[in-house]
């Protein structure tokens, strides 16, 4: 090895320990899961004793109505919460983006729900939704209304509300940051050009925030597909399958039905979905970067 190649290799040698650790911590379980998804695997068995079944687990799932149900619950849940959170979060950000006294206290308060551990959030909401002693129904009854069967008949709506409560702040802070980095003078120019508050939001603020908003929404979507703890604590997927999101079904398939292979296959389906979303997100930010770079080049060519 010449001194030169040695020098070139040095940084990579320093990376080896980290790469190995990462490889083991990330790739080993992933590989284990993929491997397991092709096998008929009971938790009592050692994986080497299991039988290879090819794509059977994937095919079974593909035609399994219960899996379809939980996939559609997940999709409904994820898209509903993201749309609602985006609308509320961006709306609140537009309201809170001003310099009045006390606004920073208000902002801190709004951000609190995000800081609470998901299990605690689940317990808290389960208590508030309780049919007889819960906060909501007691309030409704004291106002003379009927109580609502929150976690029974309206379970999906109830968990959606809880998720919106917890994660809207995430959108709020990112939108606030985006708003605060908008070019102030462009907004002033819009005021002089005669734009009302609404027109400023519609024609200037939202279009300029769009790159941040798209990435924020995708991040939230990815997260919403993986949600588990809050729903587990609140409903355990019930009643029936009404709130059984995919993550929950995976854990039940593995523990209750004792079908590790099927659970692994299900995880891989979810993984594929998330991979697709993640790649969409990267693609979008790459496109944005490429556009900026192209503009910069164009200017350079002209002046040069």
């Amino acid at each position: 090895m010449t001194a030169q190649t040695f020098n070139r290799m040095t940084p990579y040698m320093f990376l080896i320990p980290a790469a190995v650790t990462m490889g083991i911590a990330l790739l080993y379980p992933l590989g284990y899961m993929i491997y397991g998804s092709f096998r008929d695997w009971d938790p009592s068995q050692n994986i080497s004793e299991t039988e290879f079944v090819g794509l059977k687990n994937y095919i079974t799932l593909f035609f399994d109505p219960a899996f379809h149900e939980s996939l559609s619950v997940t999709l409904i849940f994820a898209f509903t919460v993201v749309v609602a959170e985006m609308l509320i979060g961006v709306g609140l950000a537009l309201l809170l983006d001003r310099n009045i006294r006390g606004i920073s206290v208000l902002r801190t308060l709004f951000i609190l729900p995000m800081m609470i551990a998901p299990v605690v959030v689940g317990l808290m909401w389960r208590y508030m939704y309780h049919p007889t002693v819960g906060t909501f129904n007691r309030t409704l009854k004291s106002l003379g209304f009927e109580g609502i069967d929150w976690l029974g008949q309206h379970a999906l709506l109830s968990v959606i509300i809880a998720d919106i409560w917890q994660w809207t702040p995430f959108i709020l802070i990112l939108s606030l940051a985006a708003l605060q980095s908008l070019p102030a003078s462009a907004l002033e120019a819009a005021r002089i050009d005669g734009a009302t508050t609404w027109q400023q939001i519609w024609h200037i603020k939202l279009p300029l925030m769009m790159p941040v908003l798209v990435v924020t929404a995708l991040l939230r979507l990815i997260d919403a597909f993986k949600v588990l703890e809050v729903i587990l604590v609140m409903t355990e997927g019930g009643p029936g399958l009404s709130t059984e999101i995919v993550a929950l079904r995976i854990s039940r398939t593995a523990t209750e039905f004792r079908e590790l292979g099927t659970a692994a296959a299900m995880s891989n389906y979810l993984l594929l979905l998330l991979l697709f979303l993640t790649m969409a997100m990267f693609a979008i930010s790459r496109i944005q970067e490429a556009r900026a770079a192209r503009l910069a080049r164009q200017i350079e060519e002209e002046s040069g």
Partner: protein, 361 residues
Amino acid sequence: MPEIRLSKLTKRYGAVEVLHGIDLEMAENEFTVLVGPSGCGKSTTLRMVAGLETVSGGEIFIGGNPVSHLDPKDRGLAMVFQDYALYPHMDVAHNISFALRLQRRPKAEIEAKVREVAEVVGLTEFLHRKPGALSGGQRQRVAMARALAKDSDIFLFDEPLSNLDAKLRGQMRAELALMQQRVRKNMIYVTHDQVEAMTLADRIVVMHGGHIQQQGTPETLFKQPANRFVAGFLGSPPMNFLEAELISEGDTLFARGEGFSVAIPAERSRTLQSRNGSVILGIRPSDLNYDQDAPENEAIDLRVIVSEYVGAQSVLLCSCGNSNVTVELKSETPIALGETLRFAIRPEGIHLFDQESTAAL
């Protein structure tokens, strides 16, 4: 076309007052230029007229009506910002037509207007570019075009030409002057370029430290500066200042300092008769003419220290006693560094300022 009046206008940021009672009357269709050193409050004044800054005290009248409670959009004005303030996500055509589109004007009218103003500022080929893909000068022209497209009664300009190269700046200046003659609108123009101020202005307002120092036509300000600041601010190279004593000898009043003794013209000396003692003598380089044969009490003797060649003229930095004096001289005049030359002073070119208040005498 309404007249604009500022009455005892003040601006405070927290406890700091940055404008201390601006009184200003701009007649109909007047082209008013605010000049002054950086940080003197020009932009702040302009932004208060625009409605982008709140008024801390005093009032702004447009066409006789108080407007300080009105939104910018209700004041009927157009503005060109110091930092362009373009809409980054819209192409040039949409930037220019934003105000018109908000007013829901007919499409054909908007297109015609965009083409017209793009022509004026020379942007026709860039109409479909985003601001991000334009050079600084091109952006500035978009900002200009956007203001022109609005057809407002009042135009506010905050250093609109500061980022253009010398040639383009000259063109745009001429274009502005033409436009001013053609459309006759109220214009308030902030700059710290003296040439812009002198060539464009009907009225120049010189500001310093949040106060108006003097206002008037370019000629008035140049010939009769109200104080030492205005005298030193306008004109290039700037006016020379020399410490002097006023001394009467017989019928004549002399301004006498280290290395010079200049007779004050008879008509001026009458009003100055009562004053004796310390003053500041101000003479512009353009009022000093090289003339070895000039009489001693109408001239000043200067020793050349540095000569800067700037084309047809050379600018000489000279010393007179302890003070430095700048003069201009035809480049072909043969002179040597260290030589002492005599310069005749044009009688109208003698300015005297009070030593303490710095006001003109």
